[in-house]
Amino acid sequence: MSDTLLEVENLRTVFHTDKETIHAVDGVSFDVQRGETVGLVGESGSGKSVTARSVLGLVEEPGVIEEGSIEFCGDELVGGNWDEHRGDIAIVFQDPMNSLNPVYTVGNQIKEALRIHQGLRGQAATDAAIELLEDVGIPDAARRVSEYPHQFSGGMRQRAVIAIALACDPDLLVCDEPTTALDVTIQAQILELLDELQREEDLGVLFITHDMGVIEETTDRVNVMYAGEFVESAPVEELFDDPKHPYTKGLLASIPGRTAGGDRLPTIEGEVPTSTSEPTECRFAPRCPHAFDACDEVHPERIAVGDPDADHETACLLYDDEFEESPPEDGVVADGGETA
């Protein structure tokens, strides 16, 4: 078996609403290797979750995958072939209160997945469910297996959700902001658990978050997403050491504690636009401190930048030789240099 689990090529997911067509995911490409954690980072509304849902085939009407390919272990999934790989790709959602059905016991919901993917029933299923709960670090699993989601704390619930995902015996785990709804200490525990499980099971992980700190800690490769597109992709160290795209720089600058001084945390003014048409310009240009004339007229292509060995790409005209403006010096912050 090849080491590439997931290969996404030029994925376009659009939503046809009555008023307009929204390009939620607009031509993204990435792949996930076995044992690798790929991060997807961006603001709310940048298309991270739609990417995840596309990978799992959960895009619902009026949304549709219009173009591109999603290959899992070499099999094309686009076109309704998810059923053959159900369970090979599992997902952990953001809010564990919502991803567990409150009217069934936690054990019941784990057993549901076990029955489908491992054909376990009755006592065997219960034993397997208890084992899974123990694996994800729930104490007194034999008792808690018959408890309801409301009897679990937030972190416990997320562990239970992970147990359900593991019940499918997946190869690829998609984590859609799994720690966002949890408080910081629990976040750390869940991240540690995911890391441990990944090493044990040799899982590929697609990790979606808006938290740069979490990205730095957990991922191997990072894709920075903005308005449905990847504006920068790089190995995590490379990205944090040498960010190229002004948006990435802005994101990094707005992590508390990363910027020196301590006056005011820099922010990126404005918000993510909703992409309703084919881009003819750089979508970040209206918020970009380094935007110049060409940015409003040319849609930037992804080009290799930085360390030639590092597989570092960005979509910014600043790095395109055809255009005059030269790249900003490193260290200049993206909000226009108002910071200390």
């Binding site: 059923d83 599992a90 997902i91 959602f93």
Partner: protein, 474 residues
């Protein structure tokens, strides 16, 4: 599994539970015959109407065998049809007057029904206190809110009395449908002839002819005896038969048609609502179109047309045409319920656990049944109880027009129709009493629906809610 086993064992060693079970067994034994009779006769009526089933002999044998089982509340145990023999009553319970004997039996029936209800509540409380794992569940709040809802309680009492009437119909009437209406010339009664001063015998049919209620000249009022010593709690009808017996048996067919049509339309509505909420988009749109098309059909015209067209077919034989009515009601009425349930179903379909189940490959039907249905059953209950009132009004309306349930099967609407010529005379009771009963029962069902809605969803405004009971139309 072992937990459940030990719980059952506990139940019999624990005094309170054992007592509860004993009381239940006692209550059941008192009425075992009647319960079986009710179930068996309903099933047999249904079976006989299906073409190709030729087991009349066997089925009637079963029916008769069941009828032989003694029960406390039967007319054999507490008879009211006796006669005066000059010195006292013969053949009535303890020699009471027929009116008292009948009243005693009717009271006993209702006491029994309320006792059975109380027994159920008692059992639930024991379960809640001793056996349920959780101390509190959201359902407890629902019950508590309902208990404080006076209007809802009123509805529950009315509905409960109506259901009791339907279930105990044979025991409640002062006489039987067979003896008094269907086959009145096949039965004889003894009566005290004050002219000759002796006990005479007369055919029921002839006695009925002398007990007509047709205006001021000839009238047997409510709560009186006729010339043959027969007691009529609601008076007689225009043909001399007993109105109370007619109404009691009529309640049965109203209830059966109502429940059947509502259950059918609720299951159609729930299935389609869950499907459209799960698949959304084009599936949803096509269902909106279908339901709009069905809604656009005039229900009354369709009813008249279909009952006429299908008059000769076997399906019109089941429950004197009641089954056909229920089917038509279900297939024209599901749209309203579907519309009401679609919203909540769409809401539920957005929850993440639906996506989670889809992501690990659960089948769509299982997701709908297991992860979506529990959230719409509350709405089904509310709209179901409200539509039931509407269905009962519609059935009565159709019978009033001479459609629907075929004579001689008693139906409330037909009683209203039969008595309408005498409304302004002394025989007002023939139309008025069934009319009041229909109003009361429909109000009861609507009140119950309101109560359930306020109990399930306290945020809903009971004043602003529109009642589906108005959907009767006919």
């Amino acid at each position: 599994m072992s937990v459940n086993g030990s719980r059952v064992a506990d139940a019999f060693t624990d005094g309170r539970t054992a007592l509860w079970a004993l009381v239940g067994l006692f209550l059941f034994l008192l009425e075992a015959g009647a319960v079986l009779n009710f179930v068996v006769s309903l099933t047999i009526d249904g079976l006989l109407a299906i073409p190709g089933v030729d087991a009349v002999g066997f089925l009637t044998a079963v029916e008769n065998a069941v009828r032989e089982i003694p029960t406390l509340l039967s007319r054999e145990t507490i008879p009211n049809q006796g006669y005066f023999d000059g010195s006292g009553y013969e053949g009535t319970f303890l020699g009471l007057s027929p009116a008292m004997a009948w009243a005693f039996r009717a009271t006993l029936v209702y006491l029994y029904a309320f006792a059975a209800f109380g027994w159920g509540v008692w059992g639930y409380r024991i379960y809640r206190r001793e056996y349920r794992a959780a101390d509190w569940t959201p359902r407890d709040d629902v019950f508590d809110r309902f208990r404080g809802h006076k209007w809802g309680i009123f509805g529950l009492v009315i509905v409960f009395m109506f259901v009791t009437m339907a279930v105990f119909a044979p025991a409640l009437g002062p006489t039987t449908v067979d003896q008094n209406m269907r086959n009145s010339y096949g039965h004889e009664i003894d009566y005290w002839d004050s002219d000759s001063g002796s006990v005479e015998t007369i055919l029921v049919g002839d006695a009925n002819l002398d007990s007509l209620s047709q205006g001021n000249d000839q009238n047997v009022e409510p709560w009186t005896y006729d010339d043959y010593g027969r007691f009529h709690p609601f008076g007689t009808m225009q043909d001399g038969s007993d109105l109370f017996t007619f109404l009691v048996v009529g309640s049965r067919i109203s209830l059966v048609i109502g429940v059947l049509s509502v259950a059918l339309s609720a299951s159609i509505a729930a299935t389609l609502a869950l499907t459209s909420a799960y698949y959304k988009g084009r599936v949803d749109l096509s269902m909106v179109l279908v339901s709009d098309a069905v809604m656009a059909m005039p229900q009354l015209l369709l009813l008249i047309m279909l009952t006429t067209v299908l008059r000769e077919s076997w399906i019109n034989e089941v429950y004197s045409g009641g089954f056909l009515l229920a089917l038509i009601f279900a297939f024209t009425g599901w749209t309203y319920m579907w519309r009401s349930i679609r919203g909540p179903a769409l809401q539920i379909s957005e929850r993440e656990w639906i996506d989670a189940a889809r992501s690990f490959g659960q089948r769509p039907t299982t997701i709908m049944r297991k992860h979506m249905l529990p959230y719409v059953t509350g709405y089904l209950l509310i709209y179901g109880s409200m539509t039931l009132g509407g269905a009962i009004i519609s059935i009565a309306g159709l019978s009033y027009l001479g459609l629907g349930v075929a004579p001689p099967t008693p139906e409330w609407g037909r009683a209203v129709n039969l008595g309408q010529d005498y409304v302004r005379t002394g025989s007002w009771h023939i139309s008025l009493i069934p009319g009041i009963l229909i109003t009361l029962v429909v109000t009861g069902f609507n009140a119950l629906g309101d109560g359930i809605r306020d109990a399930i969803d306290p945020q809903s405004d009971s004043a602003g809610g529109e009642t589906a009971g108005a959907g009767g139309g006919a």
